[in-house]
Symmetry: C2
Subunit: 212 residues, 2 copies
Amino acid sequence: MNDSRKRLTRAEAKAQTRELLLEAAASTFADKGFAGASVDEIAEAAGFSIGALYSNFANKEQLFMEVLSTRATSRVAQATQIIEGGEDGLQDPMAALGRLLVDVADKDIDFAPLRAEFWLYAVRNPAVLDTFAARMREPTEALEHLVGKEMDRHGNPAAVPATNVAVVVHALFQGLVQQRRIDPASVPDELFGQALGWLFTGVKNAEQGECR
Amino acid sequence: MNDSRKRLTRAEAKAQTRELLLEAAASTFADKGFAGASVDEIAEAAGFSIGALYSNFANKEQLFMEVLSTRATSRVAQATQIIEGGEDGLQDPMAALGRLLVDVADKDIDFAPLRAEFWLYAVRNPAVLDTFAARMREPTEALEHLVGKEMDRHGNPAAVPATNVAVVVHALFQGLVQQRRIDPASVPDELFGQALGWLFTGVKNAEQGECR
DNA sequence: GTCTATAAACAGATAGAC
DNA sequence: GTCTATCTGTTTATAGAC
């Protein structure tokens, strides 16, 4: 009994070390990039030494991929799922989604750089490309539900596939987040929601034919 | 006379070396990133040795910034300016712009990775951020002209600022290019033009109020 | 399981030959 | 103006102490 408690505690300790290393890795990779970040400074940022890192991860690449698995990309999916279940945005889902996206962009400072780093890594390593593409399909699918509902709300069945609209919304979001990072004045808070509004009235009219 | 010809030829030779180094640098940075690419392999890719590189550029960073100055980001601006002056897209400027963006995305394979690399560098180096932001304003401003014309074509004066629409179009383009790179099937050729169509009918209706 | 010490390879940048 | 050789620091990854 004592023994099992002890074993559990040790397992927990190791798990905690792993988690701390993953957090430090995410932050350091965001700051300096995959090639630019050294395993040494990652370990140090986590409060450990290089030995602990190699005891928990096979090498730098595996650590990087592990960060991809646990963090970063699914934020948007989480966010949109909150909107679907929550009381927010019952009136105007698009404005609510706009606010939420701004929130994701501003709160999680590492989000965009980390995503860019993963994207580059995926583009450069064909073996990883499918894994990353699958990760990116997550938020798009979450958006697809929202998009589908919104399109239903406005009437008739799909002349435009919800999947395509979801891809566009996702791409627009990523693009705006990046632009906001280098030139905040050019991307005011409201622009997210406005752009979504334009897009959806446009889709709506495409469905039912031009309205004038 | 003989002397001046000789001097000119040498200057040209050096200029050519510089240009070759810049091309090789752009390609290598796109392939391996700023931190991942070594000056050695850049020089080698250009057909020169490391000494020639350091004879033409102060260091790796300056070479990188020089690549930014000469290449990469202004492609979209060039493209949209062609549309404005050309015979193409007189009927449907948005569809033409869509085709053109697809072309930029597919033909210039280094475009997106290089842009991502510059973006990351700018985000990480505050001193460079303004320079890069200015570069990014170039294509947006070119788009703004197109957008303004298109909005005029549909009628009344701006309830929506053309600048904001241009930012959205640019962001959308960048996002779609990135998504297409990791999951081509999710971003068919027509989607660029379609999305622009949705956006503009949406903006149009926002200008003149909802149409139903 | 984590740390310290170290091996082996490689980086950016410089100096001097041609 | 370009090349070769080299200096110096840093990198990833491993081995053995605790």
